[in-house]
Amino acid sequence: MTTKATGNHRLLQLKSIKKVFARGTIDEVTALASIKLDIYDQDFVTVIGSNGAGKTTLLNIIAGVYPPERGGSVTISDEDVTHLLGYRRAVYIGRVWQQPETGTAGKLTIEENLSLALLRGQSRGLKGATNKQRRQLFREELAVLGLGLENRLNTPVYTLSGGQRQALSLVMATISKPAILLLDEHIATLDPKTAKTVLDLTDKIVRLEQMTTIMVTHNMEIALNYGNRLIMMHKGRIIVDMGEAKKKALKVSDLVSAFERAAGEEFDDDTILLSRGE
């Protein structure tokens, strides 16, 4: 299976990634069986798969929440970051979580949240956290959302709605232009209309900032309609990986049947070819 590379150079490389939880106990789960994945500059990858397929584990490995099993490696911009974990990995990774509460600090104001986000990976000093210049930048970034948040810099974030908070979370994840943006079912808790708004904002910001993005979703239609590359996961493996051209020719029903076939059968190989829609 070929993968269409958007940018020229490889930004993220995952090699022999395996992750087992509760090893040696009755609850042992192999969340990731064997993952090999290359992501290129400015790729916008959508990831689908059923519950337990390993999507969130994959994002956590990329974000450095925990390391892969021995033998696996994570490389970002040709730097081996496998053992660069936790807050040290943050310089490369912007992330929006499923819950709006996870990505923002509720008691702080919009302005304070953005100030915190702006200095991603930089050393923080005894300068004032906000100043005129930064406020101007925040207003410009928030204006893109079209939600009027640019006029509410001093509003505490807990007073915002879920959709507003998630949109803010998106700006916070991207404002310092990290190498990779991870979206972990970030519209799953929003109502359909707000979800569409946040999704379109996501698309807009990703294009505007030319962000390399990995978006996990449960929604096949979204997975097909957004981004330039689609990955389907099943039981800790990547079973489908297709580029823009193939994706465009595909309908949701094709994807569903591919998914059903994948879920119902065992495969020797890591990938299957999609028969329908090709």
Binding site: A90, T104, K107, G121, K127
Partner: protein, 302 residues
């Protein structure tokens, strides 16, 4: 009239000096969401360090600074127990409180150190301004100290580091997600908090003329009660108002205690007064809402 003046004066002095304790407790409990009970040990630690150094002939202001330093270090240790050894915040604080009891006894080589014949910071101020002892001197010195720390904290909490500190207690996972080592912010917060508490201990010891190993008992209760009273009465929004509410809450709390004492209540009853006062501040707004049939939040467990 004189009695009222005196009561207000005492509450003023105590509101300011114990206000440092309240601000310290506010930093750990509210800002960091770190329930730090070391305070009962770091308050007498400050008193012990200052008293022993003054008796040894050290300049009383330097002795007070040393007490602040001792508190900073003790707070750092509490933070290290939590962040580096993964001992829960509550237990780390209790261990420090217990451990510091022995350390304080060692520092003072006994249960207390009298300062009545020594020249304290208050004596120096009295001479400097030509004041003749009493409340005026006490209030003058603690006002200067509290104003200084108010200004410094009001600035610091708005800086990039201060913001990281405030965000840590709000959403630690997110803060780490932006590349901040939250272990460091916790260490910093615990250290500053206990530094302030030890400073208050040093001032109180000098003012009352002795340092005692038991002088820290109930400090955590005082700090929490004052924080709750301050929040309940003033509903502060923003950093400066919050710091002021800590001071205001302590003032109101000590005012009640002073009045209770003047009314002839036994010192043993004061704990009950404290408990009733906190219940009142928390319950009155709730009962008012209930009477107006407003929507009510479920009770918090933490």
């Amino acid at each position: 009239m004189d009695i009222f003046g005196n009561i207000l004066g005492v509450a003023c002095y105590e509101g300011l000096v114990f206000g440092l304790v309240t601000i310290g407790v506010y930093i750990t409990f509210r800002v960091l969401a770190f329930p730090d009970l070391s305070v009962d040990g770091t308050f007498p630690l400050g008193g012990a360090i200052a008293a022993v150094l003054i008796v040894a002939g050290v300049n009383p202001f330097l002795a007070t600074l040393a007490a602040l330093g001792g508190g900073l270090v003790a707070g750092l240790v509490t933070g290290l127990l939590n962040t580096k050894l993964r001992i829960s915040a509550l237990l780390a604080g209790i261990l420090m409180m217990v451990g510091l009891y022995s350390i304080n006894l060692r520092i003072m080589s006994g249960a207390n150190v009298p300062l009545l014949r020594e020249v304290t910071s208050f004596d120096v101020i009295a001479e400097l301004f030509g004041l003749h002892g009493g409340l005026a001197v006490s209030i003058t010195l603690v006002s200067v100290v509290v104003t200084l720390f108010f200004v410094v904290l009001n600035w610091f909490l708005r800086t990039e580091i201060g913001l990281a500190l405030r965000a840590t207690g709000d959403n630690e996972e997110m803060v780490r997600g932006f590349g901040i080592d939250t272990d460091k912010t916790v260490l910093l917060g615990c250290s500053v908090s206990n530094g302030l508490v030890a400073l208050a201990g040093a001032l109180v010891a000098q003012n009352q003329g002795f340092s005692d190993v038991g002088m820290g008992i109930g400090m955590i209760v005082l700090g929490l009660a004052a924080v709750i009273i301050g929040e309940g009465l003033f509903h502060p929004k923003g950093i400066a108002p919050i710091l002021l509410a800590c001071l205001g809450g302590t003032f109101v709390y000590r005012l009640f205690i002073t009045i209770a004492l003047r009314l002839g209540m036994a010192p043993g009853d004061l704990k009950l007064i404290t408990a009733l006062l906190v219940v009142m501040v928390l319950a009155v707004p709730y009962l008012q809402k209930r009477m107006r049939k407003e929507w009510l939040e479920p009770a918090k467990r933490w």
